[in-house]
């Protein structure tokens, strides 16, 4: 595998001995979208800060774009673009002024700056708002400008730290499209941290799940979901149906699961949804609703950590997050 990012034993400790990142190993292939999934405080942003050279690691090593993050920080920064967790913008500058400053500091020649600025503004849909101060931008507009700034110097590797947090569905979808386009059309490697399962599921070629500063699972979303088990079928009996009769039918297809809505079974391969419908029908058991639940990344998280990712939050990342 041609590696854009290579991490071995990466550790970051903060004052008081708190280990925000407790030894991470991962590889990201060139041109891949890698989803780094975990609850708040799990160590995602600390990892990104280390990989983008903003925070020296306490131990371990990592190479980004072929450069060591400790010994070749400047070379790493030339290779990467980053949109960190908060859209770090100056409310008193306009979008255009931000881009021009960014391009100038990256050493883009003056003759190219105007054209590049216009192209980036067009690309993120901010051409009409280019000369307005950021203070008047919506959250989605700020995020889009943040992305344009990260792309200003045409980086080969892009770090996006929770890029859609707080965005409305439309802005989120637009940003997803742009991330996919970057990978597809420009071959950009994307390291994307998120706490949204759907985001990781839709965008990422591979996902790493982090909890308490450790990588607890890694693989393609499909492989991770397949690894933890089979689908669950859940039935809500009608008022005149004894739940025990549904349990009796479901019990033939797998292990019964706790359910707040009715009766649930995790399929063990002895049949599928159609077989269950036929069995219920032949036993004259009536149900109001029947749901098939395919495993989600939340199920993966639950299986690996014993907790659900949704609503899970760790208070132990004292640094960047």
């Amino acid at each position: 595998m041609d590696r854009a990012i290579e991490v071995r034993g990466l550790v970051r400790e903060f004052k008081g001995g708190i280990r925000a990142v407790a030894g991470i190993d991962l590889d990201v292939a060139t041109g891949e979208i890698y989803g780094f999934l975990g609850p708040n405080g799990a160590g995602k942003s600390t990892t990104v800060h280390m990989l983008t050279t903003l925070l020296p690691p306490t131990a371990g090593r990592a190479r980004v774009g072929g450069h060591d993050i400790v010994k070749e920080g400047a070379a790493v920064r030339r290779t990467i673009g980053a949109a960190l967790q908060e859209a770090a913008l100056d409310p008193l500058l306009t979008g255009r002024e931000h881009l021009k400053l960014q391009l100038a500091l990256h050493g883009i020649p003056r003759s190219e700056r105007d054209g590049r600025t216009d192209a980036l503004l067009e690309r993120v849909g901010l051409r009409l708002a280019a000369d307005r101060k950021i203070g008047g931008y919506s959250g989605g507009m700020k995020r889009r400008l943040d992305l344009a700034l990260a792309l200003a110097h045409r980086p080969r590797i892009l770090f996006l730290d929770e890029p859609t947090t707080g965005l409305d569905p439309q802005s989120r979808s637009a940003l997803w499209d742009e991330v996919v386009r970057l990978k597809r059309d420009e071959g950009v490697t994307v390291f994307l941290t998120t706490q949204y399962l759907e985001e990781a599921d839709v965008l990422a070629d591979r996902v790493g799940i982090i909890d308490h500063g450790r990588l607890v699972a890694e693989g393609t979303p499909a492989a991770l979901k397949a690894e933890i088990g089979r689908p669950t079928v859940e039935a809500v009996p009608t008022e005149d149906t004894e739940p025990g009769r549904v349990e009796e039918v479901f019990g033939r297809f797998g292990e019964l699961q706790p359910s707040t809505a009715g009766v649930a079974v995790r399929l063990d391969g002895k049949g599928d949804l159609a077989d269950i419908v036929r069995a219920l029908d032949s036993a004259s058991v009536r149900v109001e609703a029947l749901h098939l639940h395919a495993p989600t990344l939340d199920d993966v998280f639950l299986a690996k950590t014993g907790r659900s990712l949704e609503g899970s939050e760790e208070p132990s990342e004292p640094g960047p997050e």
């Binding site: 980053a82 100056d90 002024e97 050493g107």
Partner: protein, 257 residues
């Protein structure tokens, strides 16, 4: 991209920010002169004290706006830098090939630009209301230069506070502290006429006294080598200390590898 070019871009941003916050430039232009007007009206009788060096209190007091204006510029600039830290804008800059020194110098460049504007304004108003610069045109130029240097010296401490704390509130809270230094100085009276012993000692230990006296000497005396040497010396000393400590703090704040 050269360090100079980086500094110029960051200084331009600093100036733009200042201009777009009217309170940051209107207050330093108006408030010190208003205080000068009030004090000169109330303390004019001091000129009849035996040994008072001039019969025009407003000429005596003209040095005050330069120092108070520098305090305003310092705090405002410090707050701007602290805000960059709080919002993460500093991280954005850190992710570019920008040299660390460019950030500090560029930021102070904006402070110096504000110092230019202020010094020009105070001198113009002073001359317009009848203050005569005893050291002549060259003296006015020296006042201008010293005033800008004072803004740089104070600005370095504003930057230090911002870099050490990363908090706009903390930088704001320094203003009263700086103000105490201003009031416990020879701002209202020459040190030899201050009768309260502790106050005279405090004013003599206070570096702000020497900055005021250097500017004042050019206005009311002409060329006083000792006052100028002390004023410039204190100013350069403060600048060296402020810039050194700020640079060290910046190194800690920008922990990039």
């Amino acid at each position: 991209m050269t360090l100079t070019s980086q500094v110029l871009h960051l200084a331009r941003r600093s100036v733009l920010r200042t201009l777009r916050q009217p309170a940051n430039w209107i207050t330093p232009l108006i408030f010190p002169l208003a205080l000068m007007a009030v004090n000169s009206g109330g303390l004019d009788a001091a000129t009849s004290l035996p040994g008072f060096p001039t019969d025009s209190f407003i000429s005596f007091f003209l040095a005050f706006p330069f120092i108070q204006g520098a305090l305003f510029a310092t705090v405002n600039a410090g707050v701007d830098l602290a805000r960059d830290i709080q919002t993460g804008f500093l991280n954005r800059l850190a992710l570019t090939p920008m040299q660390s020194a460019a950030l500090l110098v560029g930021h102070l460049g904006g402070v110096i630009a504000m110092g230019f504007l202020q010094a020009l304004w105070y001198l113009t108003v002073g001359l317009a209301i009848g203050v005569r610069i005893e050291a002549g045109v060259l003296g006015a130029v020296v006042i201008f230069v010293l005033a800008v240097m004072i803004v740089l010296a104070f600005g370095s401490f504003g930057a230090l506070a911002a870099l050490r704390t990363g908090s706009t509130e903390a930088v704001h809270s320094l203003f009263p502290v700086f103000f105490v230094f201003l009031f416990i100085s020879s701002m209202n009276l020459p040190r030899n006429l201050i009768e309260t012993e502790w106050f005279q000692i405090a004013a003599s230990l206070n570096p702000v006294s020497y900055l005021i006296e250097a500017i004042r000497s050019l206005v009311i005396e002409g060329w006083n080598g000792e006052a100028l040497a002390l004023g410039f010396g204190v100013c350069i000393g403060l600048t060296i200390v402020g810039l050194t400590l700020s640079s060290l703090s910046l190194r800690g704040r920008l922990a990039r590898t």
